[in-house]
Symmetry: C2
Amino acid sequence: MTEETIYWDDLDIGAVFEGGRHVMETDRIKSFAAEFDPRPTHMDEAAASETLFGGLSASGAQTFAVWARLYWDITPDFATQAGAEMRKIRWLRPVRPGDVLSLRFEILAKRPVPMRPGYGFVEAKHQVLRADGRPVLELQGWIIMEMRSRS
Amino acid sequence: MTEETIYWDDLDIGAVFEGGRHVMETDRIKSFAAEFDPRPTHMDEAAASETLFGGLSASGAQTFAVWARLYWDITPDFATQAGAEMRKIRWLRPVRPGDVLSLRFEILAKRPVPMRPGYGFVEAKHQVLRADGRPVLELQGWIIMEMRSRS
């Protein structure tokens, strides 16, 4: 870890982080679905148009994986150790081919990890946003980070 | 939809479904992480051994995607339209190369979708299990299904 590393101690309640950029490509939507969620609504335009979604859309599991990527892209300097638990994950809108996604998250709460000196939990609320600013995925979760005292 | 299709109406509270089989391969753990969650703990054995995980483990986003695949493999005859919301997602243990994962889920609750005649919500508790029966991922969520009356 370098001196620029951001530790558990460094994050303030209410701090907001924004950034990242991920373009949803038609071919990747289809290939991700073929491997992990092979429903017509994620793989076939014609069949998808007959579903609630009204057209091809990404698997929710892919959108979640893109959240993980955007989180990494924003926080390469965070001393993150692991995700711990999430709640309130909601897929709010279909993610379409060509959508350009970014991430916004806000620090909600912090507490030490019991019986793990040097580690702390951080809770944040995350929104994966389209280019028009509308959220497609919202989630709230705890991650485990290193404390500065451990470095 | 065929006459064997399972609709919202057909699922009983307390019903349990089990099955699926997914082998976690080292190369796929690393390539998934390279695309979506490029942390040393998911990509490099030596670096991973120095983290809380104590060795190479799959990205939580990959384990979640595998849950989606196992769910599909168990329920190809379900008239599922979409995932709606999840809560209480917990990654309980590291997922290691060679782990063989399966799914168990139980129906907890049902209710009609407001203002969407012919569709209903189903809540279930899911456990992704290792071959030794221990859960690596637990989640609880609502999906939207078609009602038989709509078919």
